[in-house]
Symmetry: C2
Subunit: 216 residues, 2 copies
């Protein structure tokens, strides 16, 4: 547990939302949460205020908190921004790559290769995250890295859905290969372009997303 109850609750409720334990639109009753976690309402409220500030829930004055439902269109917009930020991270990584980052990217990349070869989508889901995080870090921009990590977290559930789509695993991995080549070659523009294409959800991939969101 974190150092104070408020933060712990924030993480706990955030995870519950992101793992769809609290569904979008659901009302979060302060008293219920307080008794459920065995604390008073005070730290619960503090956690909710923070989640409101992050944008995960909405607190309507005097009418309680509800989990925000992004809806397919907004999720698309979030992926669009994510693509842009990752593109920037990639182009910076290509320019600033050092030995440690290079090794981190290589390591996570080969782990992706193994999971993809094994067809293990759960393992790939995890390794893929680490691969992208290695690129954020390689960009050597703390602020950009934070922004990327935050958006990444929020988009987590939807990423997972996407990997379920047929052939997405091998397609994703071959895109990774091209991205790694561009970064290692120091070609920032190519890295940017490839990452934008890899992360964004154009055309049919958007329909896939809508379909899998509707399926829940």
């Amino acid at each position: 547990m974190s150092e104070n109850v408020g933060r712990w609750l924030r993480d706990e409720i955030e995870n519950s939302i992101l793992s769809n334990e609290f569904s979008p639109g659901e009302r979060l009753d302060e008293t219920v949460l307080a008794t459920r976690f065995g604390v008073s309402r005070t730290p619960v409220r503090e956690a909710l205020m923070q989640l409101d500030a992050i944008g995960l829930i909405e607190i309507r004055p005097r009418r309680g908190a509800i989990v925000i439902d992004p809806g397919p269109h907004r999720v698309y917009e979030m992926f669009e921004v994510m693509a842009e930020l990752e593109g920037l991270a990639g182009s910076l990584a290509a320019r600033r790559l050092d030995k440690a980052s290079r090794e981190a990217i290589t390591a996570t990349h080969s782990r992706c290769e193994q999971s993809a070869a094994a067809g293990d989508s759960d393992a790939y889901y995890y390794d893929n995250e680490e691969f992208h995080k290695a690129i954020y870090a390689a960009g050597r921009s703390d602020f950009l890295e934070e922004q990327c990590l935050q958006l990444h977290r929020r988009l987590r559930p939807y990423r997972r859905l996407q990997l379920r789509v047929r052939n997405r695993l091998s397609t994703s991995f071959s895109e990774h290969c091209a991205i790694v080549d561009a970064i290692f070659a120091g070609d920032g523009d190519a890295a940017r372009r490839l990452l934008r294409g890899h992360v964004g959800i154009q055309g049919e991939r958007f329909s896939d997303l809508v379909a899998s969101m509707a399926a829940r």
Copy 2:
């Protein structure tokens, strides 16, 4: 005043930080703030939790809240991300421009022209904001617009410093002209590139920023 004291306090403290009334590194004492605003500590704490979540302050457990000091390097990173997001907004605006957005951009653009011609840097500061906001809105991506507005707010004080630099006013306005042309011509790539250049602080503009930050 907002509907509840917590939100009102959040805005109030946020403005105080952004207008440098609370300087970076300064400690924010809950009791002091509470008496100053004539409320109890509870809403003050809620406001602080939110500001912590946004990233404006840092709450160290049991040791109080301090205003975050970004430092020149981090401010540079923030402008880098801002440039990327504005670039995306511009490219979307070029593609999706409709009549209302076109008129909004034209209106704010010509207001910038007047302030620039008058050499009124305070007026230009305000009109410039509206111009950029018009572009965010023209992109027709709610999420992107929100992100842009949020970052824009945080960078506000530094933007203001930049305008003080000699000749920056007329340079800025001529860059605006090129941006408007690109958007109106439907040239997304050009709009993206021009906005990235306009917003980012490369080369000597970074030294200007450092100098003006040190001057305070």
